[in-house]
Symmetry: C2
């Protein structure tokens, strides 16, 4: 395991001198890189480092549990394979690339790395969403860097775009397709398939986990939205405060009705800056066909950042996968080599409050009888919710009849109260589904 | 003119200490900003500085010829208005924001600013395309920065995206809609109008200059493409080496035929990295309706960067206009405040050589007689160009008959030789128009 004893034994004091001082170009030795986690992304990072040989970067360690089964022949002999994190910590590695994911033990490794004065590049969205602010403080205190361009939308440079290119604007809204699995499922359902069929297909293709909850329930996208809101709106939001809605509630029939409304359905992560704070939500939403968000296909990711001065900027591309994510990691490593210090904008602890005042789509499935529409309309009116249109397509059995009501912009809470009342009607075959409609 | 004599008299030696050292965060005094050129963009930059009050930035000078007519009341009294560049040069300004445009005298001002140790932020595409490498060297030698995020695609953070987010990839192709005027004209022509009608409309709306040559001939887009190729492919290309084709050659009839081919027409700037060097071109091109490039509307800009590892990344948004361009300028100013040094990748002098091997669209207008298609097909075959399809729409007079031939991928030079032969045919009413067809 000790293939490079000379670097490994470098005392901490000397290590500091080989580390690039924050924001200073390193002209001397290469930046020594230790990769934590040799899965798909880790192997892709190693591949890029071996094939493109970016100037100033030298891979010195690969850390993984049961590392023996991970060994591949194309990695240079000079690289030390290890399953003991302390090998990395005690080594001369300047940067730890954390690709293990999850809060633990990855968080502990990142903290230990930073504490030892090693910069960290990570793709760990949950860690950065939950503990990014504290970890950035730790990095600053230790004079090293924490970069996470790969944590959101993989190969799409949204984070550098927000930090460097749009810093001069006041960003007021973020709209994102931040989960490739959900986009794959919903864009397939758009073509007529039901959720379970497409989920199986996605699992067979490796686009969805055996337990898809993290993706379909919106928790993955939520972590990414929280990171983007911190960078774009300087709002430090706790992920659990962002309401999520699962895409499992959406049926093929909803795509049929959406089409009649010149829309499709996508999992949208939305954050808005208001005078009083921020509003945010993640879940399936009706998206007008004319919006770039409706054009996303397969596992594609997309972010639309709207600024007070610059208007809308769209970023799209491959949001996940080993190679695109690895590009973001290597770009962060090069940023450290070139002394491009992270632009640090102070964020402040912000509560997700208020509501989106938006039009909604509500789908009912009823055992038909006279007077249903009148009752539903009555309940909506009672809570100040105005109906915009009623759609009912032919060809469905009377005892299991889907129909759709769209309502004018209203607070979700008012609609929810009305729907709670409506849900008590004996004719309802299942709970009504309400989705926000994205306005162009 | 001397409202701030204390800063103005600051001796150069002391100025250097208030200047942010390259790559170091400034924690002390504000970065003093002098704006050169108070036109649309200059006024927008001042507006953002006054309204958003970004931390660390202080506007100290506004320089313009005949400055008296430019004065506006919303600029703080502390700002010095001047029409003498030496006022700026001799002042305590840390950064010169050059928004005058053109090679001269703007280039001289930028050189003098850098030589005096002042960093420069510019939106000047022609200056950066022609002299960017030399100016970056000068900036590095003087320990200051030259940033030009606003020079390409205004408010869209393509330059930070390439420099910071995609640096870890090997970018092999750039496709861009880099000129909003041409995109406005062509997306209007798509709806049936002829060039001259739309040009007049664009001029009335302020989207096109009285003399539109710079835009329609492709020279504006070419300068931007050259800048992007330097950053993305490390290829230092002379703008004049990139072949340009004017969009004035395109007629309404071409959009009709393009539609039959499930395409539209856009001014596309294309650069490719080959083993032997680079290939580049700017001009109208057939774009499949399924490409994001076909979705661009109005003055929108778009860039698709394709990498060996990350695949395609799309950036789009408002490429021009005062406010979006000003966002890019202020973002660059903030990058200097936050000590984010420019990532410097060495570029090498590269000759634009070789050719695109792509399918082409060729439109003929003939005085019809028997045997024309056979003659044309014969000439094409003689130069090894294979016909893919022949399209002829009804409803045109026989003596002025447009028809279209699409050819399989071939070198443009071979096609041009064949067309030179064909151009001698007496039946031709005008020179044939050949356009590249973008493949998906």
């Amino acid at each position: 395991m000790t293939k490079n004893p000379s670097t490994e034994k470098t005392p901490p004091a000397e290590k500091q001198t080989t580390l690039a001082p924050t924001g200073h170009a390193r002209n001397s030795a290469n930046l020594k890189v230790a990769i934590l986690g040799f899965g798909t992304v880790g192997a892709s990072v190693a591949k890029i480092l071996c094939e493109l040989k970016p100037q100033g970067l030298e891979m010195t360690h690969i850390f993984n549990r049961d590392v023996a089964r991970k060994r591949v022949s194309w990695i240079p002999h000079s690289v030390q394979w290890t399953e003991d994190f302390h090998d990395v910590l005690a080594s001369g590695a300047d940067v730890v690339v954390e690709l293990a994911g999850g809060l633990d033990p990855a968080g502990e490794w990142v903290r230990k790395g930073l504490t030892a004065g090693k910069s960290v590049v990570t793709a760990n969205k949950q860690l950065i969403a939950h503990h990014g602010v504290a970890l950035e403080k730790l990095a600053a205190a230790r004079g090293c860097q924490l970069l996470y361009g790969a944590a959101v939308a993989g190969g799409i440079p949204v984070i550098p775009g927000l930090q460097h290119g749009l810093a001069g604007d006041r960003l007021t809204q973020l709209l994102g397709i931040l989960n490739g699995t959900c986009n794959f499922i919903l864009s397939k359902m758009e073509q007529g398939a039901e959720f379970n069929t497409v989920l199986s297909e996605a699992q067979a293709l490796g686009y969805a986990e055996a337990n898809p909850t993290e993706d379909v329930a919106g928790y993955d996208a939520r972590a990414k939205l929280v990171i983007l809101m911190r960078l774009a709106m300087r709002a430090d939001v706790h992920p659990e405060e962002v309401p999520c809605r699962s895409i499992t509630d959406v049926s093929a029939i909803d795509f049929t009705y959406a089409r009649d409304l010149d829309c499709t359905i996508r999992q949208i992560s939305r954050g808005q800056l208001h005078e009083e704070g921020v509003v945010a939500t993640v879940g399936p939403m009706l998206v007008p066909k004319s919006s770039p968000l409706a054009w996303s296909r397969g596992t594609e990711n997309m972010v639309i950042a709207s600024g007070q001065f610059g208007g809308d900027v769209v970023f799209s591309g491959h949001g996940a996968g080993g190679h695109p994510t690895a590009v973001a990691v290597v770009s962060d490593l090069l940023a450290i080599v070139h002394g491009s210090s992270q632009v640090e904008f102070p964020s402040r602890k912000t509560t997700v409050g208020g509501e989106f005042m938006v039009p909604h789509y509500v789908r009912f499935i009823v055992d038909d009888r006279p007077g249903i529409v009148s009752e539903i309309a009555g309940s909506l009116a009672e809570f100040g919710v105005n109906i915009n249109a009623i759609l009912q397509k032919p060809g469905h059995p009377k005892h299991n009849l889907p129909f759709v009501v769209t309502v004018e912009p209203c607070a979700s809470s008012a609609l929810k109260k009305a729907l709670a009342r409506i849900a008590k009607m004996d004719c309802l075959q299942e709970s009504p589904l309400d989705l926000q409609i994205l306005e162009n």
